[in-house]
């Protein structure tokens, strides 16, 4: 357990010292949100209707944008080989890396996302459910991003492939995430399904991602 904490702390330190982790992702997020009214026109009623969905899509894209880097640096400088040989099972290394990604990228995005909702006239009633749904859903997003990153770790142009492979898996999270983000009677069941997605990915993703990493480390 101590070693897993060490892994997470290492990634957090790296992210803060290098910079560009959460900051770049949030910058990208804001850019997508700002482009939206420019593309759709400044109709306030329309923007209010699409605001939760738009914020979710911006969240998915921002998380995917940073997904590629989860394992890449460690693979290139050989630390991943050391981790694979270490006492911590590779599955738990994957989990630790995914959690570090969540803490440095997805969670900050989910925290600030409703604030930027004001740019596109988000209904104040929707803020709280949106916040809850995004915090929960972002765990799923980070775990799946880790799977995509593991599958493409040694590829030179892996970024596009990550999007192609992982976006289909994001569909259920998007559907139920948006359903949970509007103040209505759908919030509770959608949150339950989101929780189910998070729990299932918690168990399945580390196994699959570790298998993919082993294929590359061989």
């Amino acid at each position: 357990m101590k070693l897993i904490w060490a892994l997470i702390r290492r990634d957090l330190t790296l992210a803060t010292r290098q910079g560009g982790g959460a900051g770049t992702a949030i910058g990208f997020f804001v850019t997508v949100i700002v482009l939206l009214p420019l593309g759709l026109g400044p109709d306030q009623a329309l923007l209010q209707r699409i605001a939760p969905g738009a914020l979710w899509i911006a969240l998915l894209l921002s998380v995917l944008l940073s997904a590629e880097r989860i394992f890449q640096a460690d693979y290139e400088d050989g630390s991943l080989d050391a981790m694979a040989l270490g006492v911590v099972p590779l599955e738990l290394v994957v989990l630790a890396k995914a959690m570090a990604h969540w803490l440095t990228t997805s969670l900050p995005l989910a925290v600030v996302a409703p604030l930027f909702g004001f740019l596109i006239n988000l209904d104040p009633q929707d803020i709280l459910p949106l916040w809850l749904a995004m915090m929960l859903g972002s765990i799923f997003l980070s775990l799946l991003a880790a799977l995509g990153a593991a599958i493409t770790v040694a590829l030179r142009r892996g970024g596009l492939l990550v999007s192609l492979l992982i976006l289909p898996f994001y569909v259920p999270c998007l559907i139920f995430g948006v359903a949970a983000s509007r103040a209505s009677e759908l919030v509770q069941p959608s949150l339950l399904i989101l929780t189910a997605l998070v729990l299932a990915s918690f168990v399945l993703v580390p196994v699959a991602a570790a298998a993919a990493l082993r294929a590359y480390l061989k």
Partner: protein, 240 residues
């Protein structure tokens, strides 16, 4: 199964199987198309457009079946290290993607006169579209990774992970309110479709399945040839 681990033996088997498979495929398509286009009665509500069903429904079944067999082959490859299983999954992917595309296109041609829209974003249509994306992603993995052994290992994971979508497609019409109709052939309590429509449908499904098997054998044969070629090339480079 292990008996066919030898590619030479597999090639021989494919050679003997293919001519009869093609023969029966042509016969089944001829009978199925005749029955579905000529002898099957028009629907009491949909009229003649119901005949799209005989092309659309088997294609959708095949899209699911091919993905299921891809996932099964991937599991086989992971557990038993069967050398042909990865090749079978790889060869099946483009065929399945075509069936999936065919189901989507004929579905939208059918949707326009019946629902008044080429496309609606409901559970069944969306999940089948996701299935197509999964096929494409799987094929992209094989394209992106140069070393075939490594590509096989990664592709297995992608195929098995994507299988989660197959039950979602199948049960999407039961779990959500969908514009798409529910199951009327493979359901508890027997089919609710009339026998004069059921028979042509089943014969068409048989024809599609045979077509898949035939194409799969051809694709696997060319895959084996490609690997041989790659090995010869590598040997040639080393020999120089």
């Amino acid at each position: 199964m292990q008996k066919f681990a030898n590619p030479a033996r597999f090639l021989k088997l494919a050679e003997t199987l293919l001519p009869p498979i093609w023969g029966v495929t042509i016969l089944a398509f001829a009978a199925g198309l005749y029955m579905s286009l000529v002898t099957a009665p028009p629907d009491y509500q949909q009229g003649e457009t119901v005949r799209i069903m005989f092309v659309h429904v088997p294609a959708a079944w095949m899209a699911l079946m091919v993905y299921t067999s891809m996932a099964a082959a991937s599991i086989m490859a992971a557990i038993f290290r069967h050398p042909l299983a990865d090749m079978a999954a790889k060869a099946a992917a483009p065929i399945g993607a075509m069936f999936c595309l065919l189901a989507l296109i004929t579905g939208s041609l059918w949707g326009k006169p019946m629902w008044g829209a080429w496309w609606v974003w409901d559970a069944r249509l969306t999940s089948v579209f996701v299935l197509l994306l999964l096929y494409l992603g799987y094929m992209a993995v094989w394209q992106a990774i140069e070393d075939p052994h490594r590509a096989a290992l990664i592709a297995r994971i992608v195929a098995i992970a994507g299988f989660i979508n197959v039950p979602i497609v199948k049960f999407s019409v039961d779990w959500w309110n969908s514009l798409h109709q529910g199951a009327s052939v493979f359901r508890m309590g027997g089919p609710t479709i009339d026998a004069r429509m059921l028979w042509p449908l089943l014969i068409m499904a048989l024809a599609y399945t045979l077509l898949f098997v035939g194409l799969l054998l051809v694709a696997m044969r060319s895959e084996i040839a490609q690997r041989k070629l790659r090995q010869l090339r590598l040997a040639g480079i080393e020999g120089r």
